[in-house]
């Protein structure tokens, strides 16, 4: 093998270093606790001022199946996934040889020297790490050795890539919340690996990290935590849920934030309730009961839960009950791939229910926007007296992202059209569903309001403006017309799309949610291919005039969907039939987030 490696060395010599611009992939078996090591690496690089993004590609089981963690560093600030890995840390025997086969030539592979080399490629730079041996220094309790051993590759990478070892120690301290025992135990192994590498591993690869200042003032957070925090600052009152990957951690985080931030100072009691329901039908039922009774209510779920919520969602639409539903999308159809990402529930959410039902959806495109929409969703729900779906996905929800600090809500809470006893007194012939203001929204009273005329009867059956049961043709038609008026009003108050048409290109791109990083990077690359593009990022449904105008202003508009059938493109076709001919779908879904390379190939492919 040495000879091979020597060839490679010569091949490498003279090759100039690649700094702050590559992707690391760490392959481990699930449940091995590598997440600690990986997030410590991520945080350290982040604290070196280098733009970084990490993705955890994990299986739908608890122990043993393969997990891959990818860390991309990008001096240019790109945070989309890269299709290729430059450095592979092969810690999973089951996948090692395939992991190595997939590497581009010139890539680096670290592996435990306890193994025989899993796949011998002459165009790969191998570093063998004596993991067992180096782990012993920690003399950790036997049941923890497997866990602690992950710190070996942290140490070796620190040496090879020139990571600031103090940042590693800081990150450990941060991770273990200052608890000295675990910090020291882990750091001792990091140091062992670090020093062993300095002494025994001649650097034979071009990849290096150098301090920058690009992450100053930024923070690292996963989308589910950001959404949870947004909901807390949105004044969530009742959250009912049923566990389902990848939405579970949103509620988990929320429960912790709430305990911290929403325990009543005087009484020490809770100003909120979080109820684990028996299933998603129960969860949404509780949420709608709470929203009707006047609390800010929410749930979080994913595909299968959305399906179960269909009937209640239709009731909320028609009885006009405000509530917020987070859909952290995963890969469907059916149970699909619970631990893979997708944007496959767009049509599902928009049309959830039977009959002629349509819903308002918010689609944040960054971590800070997830926080913002987290509180805004409640204002919109109560203003519009309907369900608000906040659509994110596993990629946003469960991965750690760089983010600007969150802005405190710049507006007071909007509780919408809720009547006090005094106001009601002023409305002698008030009717719950009377469109007084022409925006399609009636005034509601909350149960418990002390006024003899306060009561009204909510129902999913036909009703007149006074909320009385009616099978009359005219009542039905008028009510549906009002609901559509309300929906059109919603177009004007939901978050507007973000448009970049500075260049005034002939080609427009439309994307949304977690596809933004791919489009941002892809546009730069397309420019290098001589293809200028304008870009509109959708942030909500129903669609607004801005979107129509953007499409009308471009010859060809490519709609980027991370799903199989191009659902957002379909939605645009429905909404703008007169423009549909120029609306082209670019859809792909394989369980991972989209890459700039894919976008470039897709667009250039169509443009030729």
């Amino acid at each position: 093998m040495t000879t091979v490696q020597n060839e490679l060395d010569t091949l490498m010599t003279g090759q100039k270093p690649i700094i702050n611009d590559f992707q690391i992939m760490i392959a481990t078996p699930n449940g091995s606790g590598s997440q600690t090591a990986n997030t410590v690496l991520l945080r350290s690089i982040f604290r070196m001022g280098i733009p970084v993004s990490g993705k955890n590609i994990f299986p739908s089981n608890i122990q043993g199946l393969p997990t891959w963690y990818t860390i991309r560093v990008s001096k240019d600030g790109y945070i989309a996934r890269l299709a290729t890995y430059h450095i592979c840390v092969a810690m999973n025997r089951d996948t090692a040889s395939e992991d190595i086969q997939n590497l581009p030539s010139g890539a680096v592979c670290l592996y435990p020297s306890e193994w025989k080399i899993p796949e011998d490629r002459s165009d790969i730079i191998y570093y063998a790490m004596p993991v067992k041996e180096l782990t012993t220094v920690a003399n950790a309790p036997s049941n923890l050795t497997a866990y602690i051993s992950n710190m070996v590759y942290v140490g070796v990478l620190t040496a090879l890539l020139d990571i600031d070892i103090n940042q590693i120690e800081y990150a450990l301290d941060y991770h273990f919340n200052g608890k000295t025992k675990p910090i020291q135990m882990n750091f001792s192994v990091v140091k062992a690996g670090y020093e062993w590498a300095l002494d025994n591993l001649p650097k034979r690869d071009p990849y290096k990290l150098e301090k920058m200042k690009l992450t100053e003032g930024m923070l690292l957070m996963d989308g589910n935590s950001a959404g949870a925090l947004g909901a807390v600052f949105g004044g969530v009152g009742v959250a009912a849920w049923y566990p389902i990957t990848p939405s579970t951690s949103l509620i988990d985080s929320m429960r912790e934030y709430l305990a911290e931030m929403r325990t009543d100072a005087e009484t020490g009691k809770a100003t909120y309730a979080v109820i684990q329901a028996e299933d998603e039908i129960g969860a949404i039922g509780m949420v709608i009961g709470a929203g009707w009774a006047g609390a800010r209510a929410m749930t979080a779920t994913s595909g299968p839960g959305m399906s179960l919520m269909s009937e209640y969602a239709g009731l909320a639409y028609y009885a006009e009950v405000p509530s917020v539903i987070w859909n952290v999308q995963r890969m469907g159809p059916s149970t699909g791939l619970p631990t893979r990402t997708s944007q496959g529930d767009i049509l599902k959410a928009y049309f959830l229910g039977h009959g002629d039902t349509k819903h308002v959806c918010l689609i944040p495109g960054s971590i800070e926007e997830i926080f913002e929409f987290g509180w805004r969703a409640f204002d919109l729900a109560e203003r519009l007296q309907t369900l608000i779906f906040v659509m994110i996905d596993l990629d946003f929800g469960m991965n750690v992202w760089m983010s600007k600090p969150f802005q405190y809500p710049d507006e007071p809470m909007d509780r919408g059209k809720v009547l006090s006893a005094e106001e009601l007194e002023q409305m002698p012939d008030w009717g719950r569903y009377e469109d007084v203001d022409g925006d399609g929204i009636g005034y509601r009273t909350l149960p418990g309001l002390e006024h003899p005329r306060a009561a009204w009867f909510a129902r999913g059956t036909g009703h007149n403006p006074k909320a009385i049961y009616s099978e009359r043709v005219d009542d039905w038609v008028a009510n549906m017309a009002r609901l559509n008026r309300k929906f059109d009003y919603a177009r004007t108050i939901v978050p507007a799309p973000v448009v970049d048409d500075a260049v005034g290109a002939a080609i427009g791109l439309i994307a949304y949610g977690s596809s933004d990083p791919c489009v941002v990077e892809g546009r730069d690359q397309l420019r290098q291919h001589g293809i200028e593009t304008d870009y509109l990022r959708l942030r909500a449904l129903p669609l607004s005039e801005t979107t129509r105008n953007f499409i009308a202003a471009h010859d060809r508009v490519y709609v980027v969907d991370n799903n199989t059938d191009g659902q957002m493109a379909k939605l645009l076709h429905m909404e703008y039939p007169e423009l549909a001919a120029r609306i082209k779908s670019l859809a792909y879904s394989d369980g991972l987030s989209l890459t700039a390379q894919w976008l470039v190939d897709a667009v250039t492919g169509q443009e030729q």
Binding site: G217, F233, A273, I275, G285, G294, P447, G448, A455, G460
Partner: protein, 346 residues
């Protein structure tokens, strides 16, 4: 001048009325609505603090026929328990009355019912139990007796779900059974239920006069079918008297003739003989009665010590729905401090 016909909070019986019933003449459900009106008036319950919840069915229509001054929600078939859980959590001061049917609770809604009971949601939950699906015209529900025969649906060969037994198994804190025709007992049990702290399950046998198998109501149906006529509305619904029974002594068994000629045996619990805080005894009672094909009526089990949802959640006293913004939205400082801690390289 003294008004005699007002209750302690100055309301008249009329203030507890509802809209006109669109249920059949003589339907047991109607008399239950009337007892609810009577009891709420007598107990001087503030109707503006009451919420009326129901699923879907003839029974579930009835909240529209009592307490017009109370907010109501006629929700989805079998899914009202979740609604009740959310509403009473959002506003712990509300007095919840749920009306459901045997299909609504025993068939489609069994799961939600059990979990609501388990959570001890504070609600007076009434199952208007007629053993059939009234609104969809007479199929068997899960509480239909084994061997019962309906012209529409033939003979039922499945054992019945016993609402009281199900409630007990799910740790209900209040379980009672009665018969719609026994106005006095229904009122007594309703009063006990309204004063109970937690979930109060009332299984009230409430005959369906239309689909309990008397010739006229269903003969034409069958004839119709043979000749490929549509089914709906061929059903002619003659007007029936509601079945009422006069008082009978605790401990005694009374046999009631139903519209279809079948008989029902009601055994009224003797409070002296039965200790309603003894769960084991409650299980025995129900199982033994079942073996004798009797229905126990009266207060079967009660436990005032179980925590409600609001208590388990350690909620503030003010209803969550009425908390001011400053209690709901943490201060700017809280966010800034957190951002400070999290942001890099400061």
């Amino acid at each position: 001048m003294v008004r005699t016909n007002v209750n302690l909070i100055g309301l008249e019986r009329n203030d507890y009325k509802g809209g006109n019933s669109t249920l059949c003449q003589g339907c047991g459900h109607n008399s239950i609505s009337n007892q609810i009106i009577a009891v709420c008036f007598e107990l001087s319950i503030n109707p503006q603090q009451v919420i009326k919840l129901s699923g879907i069915g003839c029974s579930s229509k009835s909240p529209a026929y009592f307490l017009n001054r109370s907010h109501g929600f006629n929700s989805l078939h079998g899914r009202m328990p979740a609604l009740a859980t959310g509403a009473t959590t959002a506003n712990r001061d509300l007095i919840a009355v749920g009306v459901s049917g045997d299909g609504d609770t025993g068939s489609i809604g069994l799961g939600q019912f059990k979990h609501m009971v388990r959570r001890n949601v504070p609600i007076v939950y009434i199952v208007e139990n007629n053993g059939v699906y009234g609104l969809t015209k007479g199929q068997f529900s899960a509480t239909a007796d084994m061997g019962q025969e309906l012209k529409y649906a033939g003979v039922n060969e499945l054992p019945p779900i016993d609402i009281c037994l199900e409630a007990l198994a799910a740790d209900a804190s209040f379980v009672a059974r009665s018969f719609a025709g026994d106005s006095k007992q229904v009122r007594e049990l309703l009063k006990a239920a309204f004063s109970h702290h937690g979930v109060a399950i009332l299984d009230i046998i409430s005959p369906c006069v239309t689909f309990n198998n008397h010739e006229d109501s269903t003969k034409s149906y069958t004839y119709g079918k043979v000749n490929e006529e549509p089914l709906q509305d061929i059903t002619f619904v003659p007007e029936f008297e509601e079945i009422q029974i006069e008082e009978h002594e605790p401990g005694t068994v009374q046999t009631v003739q139903m519209h279809d000629g079948s008989h029902l045996m009601l055994k009224k619990l003797d409070p002296i003989k039965h200790d309603p805080t003894d769960k084991l005894a409650a299980f025995k009672l129900i199982e033994e009665a079942r073996l004798q094909q009797q229905f126990i009526t009266g207060l079967i089990y009660v436990d005032e010590n179980r925590k409600t949802v609001a208590e388990v959640s350690r909620l503030v006293d003010t209803p969550l729905a009425q908390l001011p913004p400053e209690k709901l939205r943490p201060s700017r400082e809280v966010l800034d401090k957190m951002m400070e801690q999290l942001t890099c390289c400061r």
